[in-house]
């Protein structure tokens, strides 16, 4: 039989291999945050003539309108995206009119967003609060649902640690991809993160449920063997569920529009991590806890 629990430190290591670089990226470059969190404005326009002016010309126009912090991005030949500090709609109207007259083309506004700085910060703070509350409720629920087995509290806690693992993976990957691909954490990223949390726990509970069931069936089995047995028994299901969710999400990444690509990619990463942590980490944590293995972590081998 596959011995997953026996190689637990190897799998913890694999997790760290992903999480540590992500956290380093986060410390080095910070989390590239969209205007949903930092406040600011985003204007995406299409020049009907089919040719957008040079970014420098747009920046100049923004500076003259009193927005000297603009960042201009082009997308295709006719579309530009300009980020700047938050502005009222009236300023946007002026900027559009000025663009039309200066660059001699009518303009279609594809998207305009403006978020005041205080709102952005509040959203970020409340998001963290939402995650914390979700974690507490889920932990309470699992502890309640596993009240029939010994140390029910450990199951809730381990599920939450596995969940935090997935949060760390998602945030780390976002920080890395954000740096290289220019992705920004926005309200959609937050939605993806919260979904991953839900899915991660969903997946972990299935494995834990099997431990719950087996612990009444095989009372004499050593705990580690029992846990490993349970993981292997649910492996088939874990992989197949993972496959079906991955199939639908992959279809969305490859064929869905540009608007959702970032969102779905993050979901994909998070859900992969969710399955990984529920197979290789969550149940192993129970064994680590049972054996109180942390007592030997910092001792040199004899």
């Amino acid at each position: 039989m596959l011995d997953i629990v026996g190689k637990r430190y190897l799998f913890f290591g694999v997790s760290l291999l992903v999480i540590v670089p992500g956290l380093i990226a986060l410390l080095l470059w910070g989390m590239p945050s969209g205007i949903d969190f930092t406040g600011g404005s985003l204007l995406e326009v299409e020049f009907d003539s089919g040719v957008a002016p040079q970014p420098s010309q747009i920046r100049e126009l923004y500076t003259q309108s009193g927005f000297d912090d603009s960042l201009v991005q082009t997308s295709g030949s006719a579309i530009i995206i300009v980020r700047s500090k938050s502005m009222p709609d009236s300023s946007k109207g002026e900027i559009i009119r000025e663009m039309e007259s200066r660059f001699g083309s009518t303009i279609t506004v594809r998207r305009f967003e403006s978020v005041g700085p205080s709102v952005g910060k509040e959203v970020a703070a409340r998001a963290a609060l939402a995650v914390a509350i979700a974690a507490i409720f889920i932990m309470l629920y699992i502890t309640y649902a596993f009240r029939g087995v010994a140390h029910a509290f450990r199951y809730g806690t381990s599920a939450i640690i596995a969940m935090l693992h997935d949060v760390a993976v998602v945030i780390g990957v976002e920080a890395i991809l954000g740096h290289f691909l220019g992705w920004e954490a926005d309200a959609l990223f937050l939605t993806a993160l919260l979904t991953v949390i839900g899915f991660s726990v969903h997946d972990t509970i299935v494995v834990f449920d099997r431990i719950r069931e087996n612990s009444t069936l095989y009372r004499r089995l050593p705990y580690q063997t029992l846990v490993n047995h349970s993981i292997v028994q649910t492996l088939d299901r874990s992989i197949n569920t993972q496959l079906t969710v991955m199939i639908t999400l992959l279809a969305l990444v490859l064929l869905g529009g540009e608007t959702t690509r970032h969102f779905v990619t993050i979901l994909l990463v998070g859900i992969f991590s969710g399955t990984y942590s529920s197979i290789f980490n969550a149940a192993s944590l129970l064994v680590v806890w049972e054996n109180r293995e942390w007592r030997t972590w910092f001792r040199t081998a004899k």
Binding site: G93, T108, E113, I205, V245, L249, L252
Partner: protein, 459 residues
């Protein structure tokens, strides 16, 4: 027998869902009429979203009920733009979310929302104009006539809110809402609801002059150039204390009193966030997401049939039932579909399959363990249930917290996602458990060949 009954319930539900899912379906029972349309969010059809916040010191409590009143006024103004299906909702304690789908000029829309309303008392002569009529007054035109002009009669047709009839005459504004000191709702000697008002010194004088000359004429109450009430002057009112009577209910009297009191917004609002999406971007995203969703669904169906054989195919049927039921519910509730909402739906397809995968994995195990087919089916369902229950419940907890988060912050994106995911989870429990099981038993009852384990991917 019980199984056949459940089968009939499923068929009826399916027929209902199909009927609702049909394009342009609607329900007409007597006076009740409702059409079922898929509501699409701003990110799909384009439109404007604005988050308004009370411009009020954060440490000071807002005047009681002021946000509700402000919301009602903003809603009136937004509807005045001539758009359909605009949504104006409170978000948390000091914010209002305004969502206007479709083609509107965002600058104009936001300007309209923010302007302070103007309450006027307008001389209408003998002509009573219906509520909602748009009129032109001489206030703000800069040349306020000193004496009242001869009463002018204008056409009383109701004009559509956004356009003013070109030939309309200018009506005289006697005074504005600024002259009102207090407005209260009370009852008269007959027990009918009336509105009592008191005017300031300047207003008292103007009003005394006007009413003494115009007994029997109509003095219209006009908010933002729209008639909200057209009472007749019964007596001269020299002391600035007046009563408006009419066939008021407590509710309509309160509404008018609020409009008189707060014709302008009761608290200043500022725009803290605004979004506008052009229609082309939205339609493109919608088309692509739908294609991606269908392909994803098709691949899941193929995978299930291939891997789990007969039960897999039954699960596929259940999955199709699931998709039809969920879409019907989206239309019935109705749920506004946004891009993340569609993503949530697609994700819930994956989770819907999960319950079946859990069951079938157990079923296969029990078959390999030497149980008979029927026993294995019952055991598969029974043993998979606790894990299905607990895992889905934890997803629902997350949905609840996401919903709260989205609702408090006017983040309708997050809210839409949580609703679609929650609906998906609940329906999937029904289809993956009841529907699959019923159909599987029916197949086994009626087709003996299906009992061979190879149909279950075992042996």
């Amino acid at each position: 027998m019980k199984r056949y009954r459940m089968f009939i319930v499923i068929l009826v539900l399916l027929a209902l869902a199909l009927w609702v899912d049909m394009p342009n379906s609607s329900l007409n029972v007597g006076n009740f009429s409702r059409s079922f349309e898929t509501k699409l969010g701003l990110d799909l059809v384009g439109g404007v979203q604005a988050l308004l916040e009370a411009d009020w010191p954060a440490d000071k409590a807002l005047p009681a009920d002021s946000m509700n009143t402000a919301r009602a006024i903003v809603e009136n103004r937004v509807n005045g733009l001539g758009v359909s299906e605009a949504v104006v909702q409170l978000a948390g304690e000091r914010r209002i979310v305004v969502e206007i789908p479709g083609q509107v000029d965002p600058d104009q829309a936001i300007a309209t929302i923010q302007e302070t309303g103007l309450l006027e008392f307008v001389h209408m002569g003998s002509q009573s104009l219906p509520e909602g009529t748009e009129i032109v007054t001489d206030y703000e035109t800069g040349n306020l006539p000193v004496e009242a002009p001869t009463p002018t009669v204008i056409t009383s047709t109701v004009v559509t809110p956004t356009e003013v009839l070109p030939a309309q005459e200018v009506l005289h504004t006697v005074m504005t809402g600024a002259a009102l000191k207090t407005v209260t709702v009370s009852t008269d000697t007959y027990g009918d609801y009336v509105i009592q008002f008191a005017l300031n010194a300047e207003g008292t004088q103007k009003f005394a002059e006007y009413t003494s000359l115009n007994v029997g004429q109509i003095l219209g109450i006009v908010l933002d150039k729209k008639v909200i009430s057209a009472p007749v002057v019964r007596d001269a009112i020299p002391d600035g204390q007046g009563i408006i009577s009419g066939n008021f209910t407590l509710e309509s009297a309160n509404k008018l009193a609020i409009q008189l009191r707060y014709g302008s917004l009761p608290i200043p609002l500022k725009v803290v966030e605004s979004n506008s999406v052009g229609p082309t971007l939205g339609q493109d995203s919608l088309r692509r997401s739908l294609i991606a969703g269908s392909i994803g669904l098709a691949m899941v169906i193929i995978f299930m049939a291939f891997y789990y054989r007969l039960p897999g195919m039954v699960a596929d049927l259940a999955l199709i039932v699931y998709a039809l039921l969920t879409l019907a519910l989206f239309k019935l509730i109705p749920v506004t579909l946004t891009l993340p909402g569609i993503a949530g739906f697609v994700l819930s397809i994956g989770m819907a399959v999960d319950a079946n995968i859990l069951i079938f994995s157990r079923l296969k195990e029990e078959l390999r363990g030497g149980r008979s087919l029927r026993q294995a089916i019952d055991l598969g369902w029974g043993r998979a249930w606790p894990s299905i229950r607990d895992s889905n419940f934890s997803t629902l907890i997350t949905c609840g917290i996401l919903f709260w988060f989205g609702n408090t912050f006017g983040a309708s994106i997050v809210k839409g996602f949580s609703i679609t995911l929650a609906i998906g989870v609940i329906i999937s429990l029904f289809t993956a458990i009841t529907v699959t099981r019923t159909i599987l038993h029916l197949v086994l009852d009626n087709m003996k060949f299906a009992e061979h384990p190879k149909w279950f991917g075992v042996g």
